[in-house]
Symmetry: C2
Subunit: 419 residues, 2 copies
């Protein structure tokens, strides 16, 4: 990662204006294979962890597949998704260091809800910039954040220079995670006692999510199986890395040959159609330059309902792993994702978040291959969250009002201006 | 219970046109203290049971109370509430007996969602009459039912005589559980292969919910405590009975002195302001006559957001227990319920269903008494469901747009025409 001003390798100190110092240390830590979860965070984890590992017998039967399908059910957390796993330590470290306010961006609102609650737990005030299209499509999420006592603004907003610039150029801009990040970063920089927090992409966020895979590893052992394929949806990469990385070390150290499949939306396909390059994490170019697969930091994704996957870039570790062939990526169209979600809901009784539907679609593709080949592979996917606050999306799908979005190569290139 | 036509004591056979035969047997069973859960239902329970028993440290701290507050978290079930506990066995018995279609009513939609999913599990078609005010206030719930493949109609509808009669008299009728029951009962009677199912009130439904209390009993033992007070919200009585009855036997047989507190809405207070009498379970008078506390079967409750508590009567066992002084009841205003719900959400990270907010409010009253007296009682309440699909209600509460509803004695009497 590079300092955007000097283009020198990023240092911990470069990140201090944005994040709690312990998070800066974790972000650039290259030596410790194991970083302990702080006691007060573990105490909070006890409220909902370990989350269940579930054998999806219903889905297997519906598909007629010999595959053994398991899912790690992160939807049972208090706020309904895996995001709380990182919100709690981030809020905790901020509190430890005397921070009084935290700010962040949110797409679908899963991360914003998690941070709002975590802030309340550790006695911090929270301000959340929510991507405008999600703010409007999913009003219940902003209500959740407000019940937890957070302040919620639609982004782009007039409260920051970054937001104003976008609105001046595009008065009807629907927002993107990239723009919302710019706004939150700006607020954190301009406000004493306020730090920025992030729901995905960065190393420390993915680190906090590895509790998912660490638990799943033990639970799979109890079930007497080991996954041949691990699947997760991919926005910035934290839920993917969270479940995949703990298993991936066994490919490297213990001769395992598990495949790791990231499922991204066809409308925002940085892994399958982006380029590996240095790019900014946000629209305005406030963040460090990250070596990653990206569609260009000014790329505005189509208004798909999986708001949490509408992000132009991929976390740097996942990007390098993909480049090195240690993981794979597939893109999934919106209609296929909701078809998979409805099939899963009817088979398993849980309505998945539109984001998680992408993981389910990719899982179904693999399970169907097993049916064709007659090989009973063990597939594990991460059910990153439930979709109970996204029912309007399902309504539109069932009414036939949703379409597939995809992007052309030209669109990507024209949006690219990284280094 | 009396046959409404003959006024003779009800027989199993009287119920056969409505319910699966095994459910009729359970309803009138006076001899068996223990009825086994069928294997296939236990297999489905494994997906989400046992549900967690949680010590509410956050709430205790927020209240500054010496009380030990525990809650049984039924909100982690696939459909977000305890209702699935009875939907699964009801659908199972129907399937066993060759039924092809099930129908029911639903208020807030928790029961309708549970039955829609359970029907799908056991290969049945489901048709749900949803109280019109909830159908409109909570559109996401009908989406949930539709994702599970059920047909959903707002009630009163023009599809039944009972619905038409109400609409003729009151064209803008907002619906009530009593009317929706009439419609579903009529559909079941008129349709070969179709049975009616019920989400509360009746004995067999409460029986299925006792799994909550049986689990809680074992979990409290693991925690090394025994409840001094057990609290649950009260609509028809199944979540209350589910958690309370397994503990209540120890008052009767083992000298325990636990108090059992049912929390009902001030706008629909059959336990605290109703009369013990024979009354119908539905608006049109299709059901057996039940000896119960009731506000009169033509009583139309105010449009509070706790749709699941908008029911005029109380289950017969709970009614008798209240009459005999073995349990207590309190009524809670709408504003107090949401205030309690927000306090709980911020302290525990779970946004409770508006129904469950009533249990929380009653729990808080007891915990505050403990603070005043300095006595550290052990309070257990049932968190019957989460409120993620009820966020519009919270929005209105936070915006100051909700009011308290109450009823006068006159209103109750004028609505009463039981025998």
């Amino acid at each position: 990662m590079l300092n955007p001003a000097t283009r020198n390798p990023l240092t911990e100190e470069d990140l201090y204006p944005l994040f709690a110092r312990e998070l800066c240390r974790q972000e650039l830590n290259k030596t410790d294979a194991w970083i302990e979860i702080p006691g007060p965070v573990r105490e909070m984890y006890k409220y909902y962890r370990s989350t269940p590992l579930v054998r999806a017998y219903g889905l297997e039967e519906a598909l007629g597949t010999p595959a053994h399908i398991y899912f790690k059910n992160e939807s049972v957390s208090p706020i309904g998704s895996h995001k709380i796993n990182s919100a709690l330590p981030q809020a905790y470290y901020c509190k430890q260091e005397g921070v009084t306010h935290v700010t962040t961006e949110t797409g679908a609102g899963q991360w914003g809800a998690a941070l709002s609650y975590a802030a309340k737990v550790f006695g911090l005030e929270a301000a959340v910039y929510q991507v405008k299209i999600s703010y409007e499509q999913k009003p219940y999420r902003r209500s959740v954040m407000r019940v937890f006592g957070a302040q919620v603004m639609p982004s782009p907003s007039m409260s920051t220079r970054a937001g104003k610039d976008v609105l001046t150029a595009h008065p009807n801009h629907q927002g993107s995670l990239g723009t919302a990040i710019s706004e939150a970063v700006e607020l954190a920089r301009m406000t004493p006692g306020c730090k920025y927090t992030l729901g995905s992409v960065m190393n420390h966020v993915t680190l906090h999510q590895t509790v998912i895979g660490l638990e799943a590893e033990k639970q799979m052992k109890l079930a007497g199986e080991y996954p041949d394929i691990v699947v997760a949806c991919f926005g910035g990469g934290s839920n993917f890395g969270g479940i995949a990385f703990p298993f991936m070390r066994h490919n490297i150290h213990d001769g395992r040959t598990t495949r790791f499949v990231a499922a991204e939306p066809a409308s925002c396909p940085k892994l399958t159609h982006g380029r590996f390059m240095y790019d900014y994490g946000d629209e305005a170019g406030y963040t460090p330059l990250l070596p990653m697969f990206s569609l260009g930091h000014k790329f505005t994704p189509a208004n798909i309902h999986a708001g949490g996957l509408r992000y132009h870039g991929a976390g740097v570790i996942a990007s390098q792993l993909l480049k090195d062939g240690l993981m794979e990526a597939v893109d999934v169209g919106q209609l296929e994702s909701f078809e998979a979600g409805c099939l899963f809901a009817r088979a398993e009784g849980i309505i998945p978040a539109p984001e998680s539907c992408h993981a389910i679609a990719a899982t179904i593709r693999e399970a169907v291959k097993c049916k064709e080949s007659g090989v009973a592979k063990v597939i594990l996917f991460n059910l990153s969250g439930h979709g109970l606050i996204d029912m309007s999306s399902y309504d539109k799908y069932l009414a036939g009002d949703l379409i597939n979005h995809s992007i052309g190569e030209n669109e990507i290139v024209s949006n690219f201006d990284g280094i």
